[in-house]
């Protein structure tokens, strides 16, 4: 197992060199976090379908429990139970729009992961960096449990647990636990845990920080200790249900799935769950006793429990919804945690936008009217008043506003329009509007994916490393 240990140390060293200016040492965060024996235990798997590109190159890496789709190159890296979804990459000959430019894409884009350690991380979407159109690179980067690297090329960065970087190129940055960053381009920044920052220069700037003492109850991770808190317990409690779907080669759905919907074979469904038309349930999603209305989706690492989603709902990567009733077109952002109680359910009206990394955890019955923008940490009605605003009112902001812990500068209308456009795009990409012949999306294209497994060397110096594997059509 010597080689894999050397690789681990090498990655740590490379990331530390990049982060030396921030005086951030990744070593105490990651040392001994994953026993090497775990890295040998799990197979990796990749998907094949006529609807997705196929090109994988794996070299000198460990891929334990990771899933690959599309075009992806992994070199000198350790990927532990991560999802690398290359099904939204740019195609050769397409045009990339950036400001007033329309840049032709000269080759099929690929995800290129080098000298990095990704733990239970999701990599998805495409590079939004106009400087690297054909390459979605992740180099010298460490991403911790349940981080999302979404359309965000990264060089020399550390992402804490449940951190999300979205549509942002990052260089030499530390992204704190449960922080969400969507800022176009960032470098040499250290982002505190629980920061929600969305910036489009010249248009808007949205900034909120979770109260750290309260956030620590949900997720706490610091040097020398493993990640802990309610989020970790929540996932740990449901871990066993995934064991079965990963252990079995052929698995049949236990609930009816319409022929225009997709329930991934690596997803878990339990109890009385309804899958409506054009619904997309991705791998590692968990649905229990819930109603998924027409066009709703549950993306990777989502948990939807004892809840009803009326339709065209986006439940973004890592979001969790328990004991809640959501109207139509409700957007729940990345890693949000929405929890009502059986005797005091959470109700969310139509067309509401729940911002990424929002925590709503109420012991009292809470109703969010239709058409609201919701963010931050909400435990009761009083919190709701300082952490939400009607979308109409927010759209009228033309200079700045500060409500509770939220700071906003710029055009509210521009911010809302950007979000609404994106939600529409996600629904479209996921196949929510499929009409039987047109507007196919992931829900229709992902129905027939074959999965192949690959395994590492079982012993010797290369124990745990996968041999060089090149898979082409």
């Amino acid at each position: 197992m010597k080689e894999i240990e050397k690789l681990y140390d090498r990655i740590i060293q490379r990331v530390n060199i990049n982060l030396r200016e921030l005086e951030f040492d990744v070593n105490p965060y990651v040392q001994k976090l994953i026993p090497f024996v775990q890295m040998v235990k799990f197979y990796a798997f990749y998907g094949i379908s006529p609807h997705h590109p196929l090109n994988f190159q794996f070299r000198s890496s460990n891929l334990a429990g990771s899933y690959f789709l599309g075009r992806c190159k992994v070199t000198n890296s350790l990927l532990y139970k991560s999802d690398i979804r290359g099904d939204e990459l740019k195609k050769k000959g397409s045009l990339f729009r950036y400001q007033d430019y329309e840049v032709p894409v000269s080759d099929n884009e690929e995800i290129d992961i080098q000298d990095s350690l990704l733990i239970k991380t999701l990599v998805h979407n495409y590079s939004h960096d106009p400087e690297t159109l054909e390459k979605f690179f992740i180099t010298d980067t460490i991403a911790m449990n349940y981080a999302n690297i979404h359309g965000s090329p990264s060089n020399g960065c550390f992402l804490g647990v449940f951190a999300t970087v979205d549509l942002t190129t990052m260089r030499d940055c530390v992204i704190g636990n449960f922080s969400y960053v969507q800022a176009g381009e960032i470098s040499h920044l250290r982002i505190d845990p629980g920061t929600i920052w969305i910036r489009n220069p010249g248009k808007f700037n949205f900034f909120y920080q979770h109260p750290i003492e309260q956030l620590n109850d949900y997720i706490y991770f610091t040097a020398g200790t493993p990640p802990q808190g309610l989020f970790m317990d929540f996932i740990e409690d449901r871990k066993e249900a995934f064991q079965r779907v990963f252990d079995m080669v052929n698995i049949e759905h236990t609930i009816p799935v319409p022929n225009n919907a997709s329930l991934d074979r690596y997803a878990v469904t339990k109890g009385q769950t309804h899958i409506g038309e054009n619904v997309l349930v991705c791998q590692r999603a968990f649905i229990q006793n819930s109603w998924m209305g027409k066009g709703a989706n549950a993306q990777e690492n989502c948990f939807i429990i004892n809840s009803r989603l009326e339709g065209c709902n986006v439940t973004a990567h890592g979001a969790k919804i328990c004991e809640a009733d959501l109207g139509k077109h409700v957007f729940v952002g990345f890693n949000s945690f929405l929890r009502g109680r059986p005797d005091s359910r959470l109700n969310i009206g139509d067309d509401t936008i729940v911002m990424p990394h929002t925590i709503i955890d109420s012991r009292e019955q809470l109703t969010i009217p239709a058409g609201r923008l919701v963010w931050g940490m909400i435990k009761d009605q009083k919190d709701l008043e300082t952490n939400s605003i009607s979308i109409e009112e927010f759209s009228a902001i033309d200079s700045s506003i500060s409500i509770g812990g939220l700071f906003f500068e710029g055009s509210g209308a521009s911010f809302i329009s950007a979000f609404k456009d994106r939600i529409e795009h996600i629904l479209q990409a996921n196949g929510a509007f499929f009409n039987g012949s047109d507007k196919k999306g992931h829900a229709q294209k992902n129905q027939n994916i074959s999965f192949n497994t690959i395994q590492p060397y079982p012993e010797g110096m290369k124990k745990g490393l996968f041999p060089t594997i090149i898979i082409e059509p």
């Binding site: 800022a183 920044l189 910036r199 220069p201 700037n205 900034f207 920080q209 700045s400 500060s402 500068e409």
Partner: protein, 190 residues
Amino acid sequence: MNYIVKDLMVPISEYATIPEGSSLFKAVIALENAKQELPGAIYPHWMVLIMGKNKKVLGKLSQLDILRVLSPRDTYTDKIDEMGKFGFSSNFISKMREEYRLRTTSLENFYTHPKTMNMNVEDFMKTIGENEFVDENTSLDTAAHLMFVKNRLSLLVTREDRFVGVLRLSDVFSTVLNAMLKVTHTEGNA
């Protein structure tokens, strides 16, 4: 300009100094008094030196440093100040500060609060860097070069290991000005 540093420096005996352990209020008074007590000086002192035992300079404080210390701070204002790095405009940051000032009473009378006035200077003084010293026999040209390269408003002047005075940008600038005027005057007469 055939001057050397010791021709222009303000000797330590004429400079505003306070002993270590002094309060913030004492530092403010020392700066104010220095303005009045410097005989025949065109430019007042903008800085007070904090002297340790054995006449060693421990640190310095400018008017700006003192205003920085006196700026009311709490976790909220720290957060606002930090927002510049997240791309918020300085107008927005000033507006947030102003709004906070209006809705909180904790910042009122901050300047005159005994706790503020009695703060120990060692807790907020600027320590002296190695590159802030210049030997008294250095030419004025070299000293001026050091000032702009290191972006310093003053340099501490040494004689061997001893601190003997302060070379101030204002005095260096006056000398340059006088040299120019002299040339202009000579040419005019000719």
